[in-house]
């Protein structure tokens, strides 16, 4: 489980401000109220985040009888014939999805931001946001209909691609793209709204200065807006990466809907689930979870450092 990195509000171009040091000029008691606010979150995070993670670490290094297993569980799961295909599936999905997310979200946010008509811009943002309002599982159920040529509202489009049955649509080679599209459709709207807010934060003085210097729309977007959005893009990357490595709901539901044509061990998380509940091997499941956690942390660290998430202005 990845905990989101706190990020400073983006303040660019405005006279540089620093956060006051704690206790510096604050009303007495305000720190205590801060602790009260944080306490409930901290409690829940410990109970449902930290403790299960530690328990998973314990499980991963022990065997079924509770004895120490060393790296036995890790070698076992890595040697499983389903492990590397699952890694590949998740990796391909992540690449397609993250690239799609970054390019399209930033592009759309810039476009919407450039619209001068107030009502049009508002309406568009609302439309983008709408699919994200559906909970994950229900949006996948909706996609089950969209992907079935016999029931789909866009069946003409599917048939134009040469897919005349549900099974033809969900061929193994198509799955990463399908999952990426589903994830984009459910998740991108919220990010577009966030990016739009970030664009609003860029001070108009900077933009005007650029215009005076003769920069066009595209140059402003590339040279001013994009660099100033860097943190937000990194933040989106980290959050999406955490969600993406844990791919589970889409393949699991698709597996049930297709009567197992989409395998129930498609992603790493599903494989962990299979280990726990199909093979009664919680230790193996914990080992897979740990591998996932380490990989996600490493990748997040790359995003955080490259995106300058923890830098102060």
């Amino acid at each position: 489980m990845t905990i989101a990195a706190p990020s400073d509000p983006l303040i660019a171009g405005a006279p540089e401000r620093r956060r006051p040091a704690p206790g510096n000029g604050r009303a007495p008691g305000s720190t205590r109220i801060g602790y009260v606010f944080v306490s409930l979150y901290a409690l829940l995070a410990v109970a449902f985040g930290v403790v299960p993670s530690l328990y998973a670490v314990l499980l991963a290094f022990t065997n079924g009888d509770g004895g120490f297993a060393g790296l036995g569980n890790f070698t076992k799961v890595v040697g499983d014939f389903r492990f590397w295909p699952a890694v590949l599936h998740v990796a391909v999905y992540l690449v397609i999805w993250l690239v799609m997310l970054v390019v399209l979200v930033v592009g759309l946010a810039l476009l919407v931001h450039a619209i001068r008509l107030r009502w049009a811009s508002t309406a568009l943002r609302f439309v983008y946001y709408l699919p994200g309002a559906l909970a994950g599982a229900s949006s996948v159920l909706l996609w089950l209909f969209v992907l079935d040529p016999t029931a789909s509202p866009v069946s003409g489009l599917l048939r134009a691609f040469g897919f005349d049955s549900f099974v033809a649509v969900i061929q193994p080679g198509h799955l990463p793209a399908i999952f990426a599209i589903i994830a984009f459709w459910t998740g991108a709207g919220g990010w577009i709204v966030i990016m739009y807010g970030a664009l609003n934060n860029i001070s108009t003085e900077v933009i005007e200065a650029a215009q005076v210097d003769g920069a066009g729309r595209v140059q402003i977007a590339l040279r001013i807006q994009l660099p100033l959005l860097r943190k937000w893009i990194a933040y989106m990357g980290v959050m999406s990466l955490a969600a993406g490595t844990q791919l589970f709901v889409e393949p699991q539901l698709l597996s049930q809907a297709s009567n197992a044509v989409v395998p129930n061990d498609y992603s790493l998380n599903q494989l962990a689930y299979q280990y726990a509940f199909q093979q009664n091997d919680f230790n193996g499941a914990a080992a897979i979870s740990l591998i996932l956690l380490v990989v996600a942390l490493l990748l997040s660290w790359v995003f955080v450092t490259r995106g300058g998430l923890f830098e102060r202005e």
Binding site: M1, A4, P6, A47, F48, P52, Y55, A56, G64, D65, G66, F81, R82, P131, G132, A133, L134, A135, G136, A137, T150, S165, F166, V167, A168, Q171, P172, A183, T186, G187, G189, G190, W191, V193, I194, G197, M239, S240, A242, A243, Q246, L247, F248, V249, Q256, N259, A260, V261, P263, N264, N269, A272, Y273, A276, F277, Q278, Q279, N280, F282, S289
Partner: protein, 455 residues
Amino acid sequence: MIGINTAVRSRRRLAVAGLCAATAFLVLAGCGSNTKAEDGPRGFPEAKQDATSTITVWVDADRQAAAKAFQKANPDTKIQVVAYDGSANGSNSFRTKMQLFDRAGSGWPDVVFSTQNNDAAWASQQSAGKQAFAAVLDKGLVPGDTLAKFTAGSLNPCTVDGKVYCLRNDLAQAVLWYNKKLMDQLGYAVPTTWEEYQALGEKVAKQHPGYIIGTAGDAWTPEVFLWASKCQANDVTGPKAVTVKTDTTECKRAATMLDTLRGNGTVPVVSVFTPEFVKKYSGKVLMMPGPAWYAGAIFNNPQSLNVPAGQLGIAAPLPWKGDDKPVTGNVGGGTWFISSHSKNLAAAEKFAEFVTTADDYQVNVAPGYPAYAPAAEKWVAKQESSKYFATSLEPVVTAASQVWDGWGYGIFSQEAIWAKTMTTGITGGKSIVDLLPTWQQAIENQAKVDGYSVS
């Protein structure tokens, strides 16, 4: 954090909810005791009995009627009915839940119904040092003469290492369903061997394109065609041993036949439970090899093919030329388990025996072909008096004891393996014959993961 993306968060939450909940539950529950109990007089360690305690029974939606019939006939026995999905469609919920109770050390239901045939494979075995879930039934718990009256071979899915661990609810032997009216209209005779069946398919493709003589789009395709051809893809030889040989003549002849008939469109790769099937093939099904439950689920079902009364005929399972006697496959058929942890084995046994043998349920209410032979006779008589079928139901009765015993019931699901490796391959344009080695590899891989030794 304002505007944090709830969709992303909820997906993450959902994704880990299962594992988290389970883990948290385990942390709170601690671990059950690991003491190995001695076997009791009936072949398994028994809990302290209390003949007045309420028994808990787990049933799927269709079996709630069985629990109701029992309550009506036995008002003195206290039962608590819990509905669950019957472990259907590979959800595996039965095993999942029992493993959690194993870890908690309490909470097991007394009787469980499962829609699957491969639960005895795990329920009969100790797992992670925990007592096996299923009680042994043929060492005194269920009377021997009751067990003897089950249709020959019907308790095979329940038998592991020579001991019986569950009672079969209904049978799902495959027969050859055909539409008598259509066959007469087009002037075709019902085939008597698989070779004739294939020849007829080639004829139909030329003379009446659009009509079909079977389907091969469901995960149980191997259980209908390859099992009936004595293909040794799933020969479970012991609790943890399986023999897999998909390169035999028996496998190849059935695969070649399917390839030919798929190629000419008379056996399409379409699942019988899709709207596509109903839309395309209503009134176009000449024949269809398939399990006993096709009658109610597909032919005599307004939501599916909705074949009018007086048209549906049944022919015996087909032999291959040169085979001494016909054998057939089997697709599912439910099972009832009694928990070895039950505190009221007498009531649990009474319930399990009632729902599998009593006329009140098996004859008067149950939709499927009863596994208990005396009930099956009466059930067949009742079906024949309904005047729905165009022919006698005799072939269904004959087929019940013709299920080939060289195809076993392991922990792993052959249906899931077929769907994952074969259905996708076939849809991608490969032939079943070419995919046989791939299938062999997939079965071996899955069997090994589940701890089987493969020969």
